[in-house]
């Protein structure tokens, strides 16, 4: 099994361009921190499943993911976030869009064990459905056995906001550019977490050209 151990007190930052390389299990020890960014570019189908276990007090895990689908991709992402001890924090942010005839399945569960008090766990999954042949299912879940916790999740599936488009068009931005801006700014909060400036910039421009392509074919 592809496993990753973040030892006590250490900090790990990793960007996975290849979803297949994402470890199946990530264990975060006392006062350690894991920052993981997962990128699925157009044309990538995947069936990802990660278990993240926070096993030492003060551990922190941040998972960020983005997926852009425009053909017949099948993107499946599943995250189980286990808070096993008190005073841990986790954050998950997954954003993506499905066009063409693609299929997106997101599943994410936060499990807070009994006595894992003072847990802070947040999860968000936001989706844009770009075509009427694409389909998105999402199952964000909370399973909580401790009371002194702050946990929340949010999930949306929607379309590009027309008011925003109108605002931009009334200021001389073409509809196509407006859509590009909307979609870029939609996934930007995930890409922001890529720490290396050069890598982030190159990823942004890569996604931008992908998005332009999608809009042209819409």
């Amino acid at each position: 099994m592809n496993e990753l151990n973040v030892s006590a007190g250490s900090v790990l930052h990793k960007v996975y361009r290849d979803v297949g390389g994402v470890p199946e299990r990530i264990v975060v020890e006392k006062d350690a921190k894991a920052d993981i960014v997962i990128l699925a570019l157009p044309g990538t189908s995947c069936d990802m499943k990660i278990d993240v276990e926070l096993v030492g007090e003060g551990a922190e895990a941040n998972l960020y993911g983005v997926y852009v689908c425009d053909g017949n991709e099948k993107v499946k992402m599943a995250v189980d976030m286990y808070h096993k001890v008190p005073h841990c924090r986790s954050r998950q942010l997954f954003k993506g869009m499905a066009g063409g005839e693609s299929r997106v399945d997101f599943y994410g569960k936060i499990i807070v064990a009994q006595d894992a008090q003072r847990t802070e766990a947040y999860q968000e999954n936001h989706n844009l459905l770009l075509s009427d042949k694409a389909r998105i299912d999402t199952k964000p879940q909370l399973e909580i056995y401790a009371d002194d916790v702050k946990c929340s999740h949010g999930a949306t599936i929607g379309r590009l906001n027309e008011d925003e488009q109108f605002y931009m068009r009334s200021r001389g931005i073409s509809l196509e550019d407006a859509k590009v801006l909307q979609m870029i700014s939609f996934i930007a909060p995930v890409l922001e977490n890529v720490k290396d400036d050069a890598q982030r910039e190159s990823l942004l421009s890569e996604y931008e050209s992908n998005i332009r392509n999608i809009i042209r074919n819409m």
Partner: protein
């Protein structure tokens, strides 16, 4: 904090006030379940042949169905052969038309008047005691407007066309294990038909009471709102305190035609079992409505405080264009109670809208889950859903869980879901204490405020009751 703990514990210790047993002579059929028992139930109710066939078909299907295991519940094994499927209070042979004074007293004690009194003219009641309907009030007044409100058994005899047309049209016989069981053995329940363009002048209500030991209650309710009509329907229930678990498996079907509106409210207060988790009702019900015509509206409001185990998902199929539905729920679990409850919103028509507000409160060692499905089918253009599920934890040995399923296959549909889990914040408690509000009162205040959005949707007759119940259910759980 220790003071808070005492208060919450005090809350939980409060006795279940409807836990008494009525001493009336009752007739039972033998224990167990087989085709002969079903024929016997059908014969007792003097049902026509088609109804018996319906039951037998359901029974044959039920036998082949597996028990549902997917809920986040720990259900002890139920011996379906160890249940009495029909129990009815005996009628006085000299005065068959009159209500047994004992029964009258029982319902009076529960606050359900069986006599039409001027003071309570706003509510018509169908009172169901174990397997039979005792009486239905205000029938004449309702009949003037063409409204049919009677027990299900009567409806089968007197309005077979309507029953045949709508029965099992929303919850098919083989829909799920407990719906199939209900279809095979259902005893009584309410039937309600609101004709075209009629606004029902009073609240309709059913009150279900389990009394006999060793029995199960399997009621069936069917509500049909024809074009442009309106009805507000309320349901209440209680049972005696016993060490055994009793099964309650009901089916409720609601049909809402074009431009009609149905408001369905439940205050569920079955006996929850004692603090050690002994006894209590297993409440496994299937409730579903269909917004059949365009512009129709169905609203569910539920306050769930009772039952040892609750398994219940009032759902709406939004078939008509521009139809809308709402689900407002407060579910409270304490001690060893378990609840897995929520809703399903299936969007089929264009411009359909749904809204889900669920407030869970778990205390003691209870487990409280929200489970919901929002599904946008390809034809649901511009459909819209908003869901909010909040959980409040009181005590460090309880659990609160959220399991939403969101499926979208239409790119013009928008679905939003958010959920939070937290405990009553110490800041809020401190704020109240500082202003001279004691910890217990403060918790009551905060919980009521937390649930207000739902409670405010209840009809007035229910809202007061529900607020009190909330307080009582949480008694002894502050910590």
């Amino acid at each position: 904090m220790s003071k808070d703990k005492e208060i919450l514990e005090g809350l939980a210790d409060k006795e279940y006030e409807h836990g008494f047993v009525t001493d009336v002579e009752q007739e039972f059929i033998p224990k167990g379940l087989n085709e002969d028992i079903i024929r016997l139930i059908s014969a007792k109710k003097q049902e026509p042949e088609w109804m018996l066939e319906f039951r037998l078909d359901a029974f044959r299907r039920w036998q082949k169905m597996p028990l549902p295991q997917w809920a986040h519940l720990d259900i002890p094994e139920i011996d379906f052969q160890d249940i009495i499927y029909y129990a009815a209070p005996k009628k006085d042979e000299d005065r068959p038309k009159e209500i047994d004074p004992e029964l009258e007293k029982t319902f009076d004690k529960l606050g359900i008047p069986l006599h039409e009194r001027a003071a309570l003219a706003g509510v018509a009641v169908d009172a169901v005691f174990d397997s039979v309907s005792v009486t239905t009030t205000f029938r004449a007044a309702l009949a003037e407007k063409g409204i049919i409100f009677c027990s299900f058994s009567e409806a089968v005899r007197e309005h077979p066309d309507l029953v045949k047309k709508y029965l099992a049209s929303v919850v098919p016989v083989g829909d799920n294990f407990y719906a199939a069981l209900n279809s095979a053995v259902f005893s009584d329940g309410s039937f309600c038909y609101i004709p075209k363009g009629v606004r029902c002048p009073m609240e309709l209500s059913s009150y279900f009471r389990i009394n006999a030991a060793g029995t199960g209650q399997f009621e069936r309710t069917l509500i049909v709102a024809d074009e442009g009509s309106y009805v507000s329907y309320m349901e209440g229930c209680t049972a005696p305190m016993r060490d055994e678990n009793q099964l309650h498996a009901a089916v409720v079907e609601i049909i809402v035609e074009k431009d009609a509106e149905v408001k369905y409210s439940t205050v569920q207060n079955w006996y929850p079992g004692d603090a050690q988790g002994k006894g209590g009702i297993f409440n496994f019900v299937t409730k579903r409505g269909i917004c059949k015509g365009s512009g129709s509206h169905l609203s569910w409001t539920q306050v769930e405080t009772g039952s040892a185990i609750t398994w219940k998902y009032p759902s709406t199929i939004l078939k008509g264009d521009n139809s809308s539905s709402e689900f407002y729920s407060v579910a409270v679990t304490n001690n060893m109670q378990q609840a897995d409850t929520g809703t399903k919103m299936i969007h089929i028509g264009r411009n359909t809208r749904s809204r889900i507000i669920s407030k869970g409160i778990s205390a003691g060692r209870s487990q409280n889950s929200y489970r919901g499905l929002v599904k946008m089918l390809p034809g649901a253009d511009n459909a819209r859903n908003y869901s909010q599920c909040d959980s409040l934890l009181i005590g460090d040995r309880c659990g609160a869980h959220t399991f939403p399923y969101i499926e979208n296959a239409n790119n013009t549909a928008i679905v939003e879901h958010e959920a939070t889990t937290s405990k009553i914040s110490e800041d809020q408690l401190f704020y109240c204490n500082q202003r001279g509000i004691g910890p217990e009162e403060a918790v009551g205040l905060i919980v009521n405020g937390y649930a207000r959005e739902v409670l405010s949707k209840l009809p007035m007759e229910f809202a007061v009751e529900a607020q009190k119940l909330l307080q009582v259910s949480l008694e002894g759980s502050v910590g």
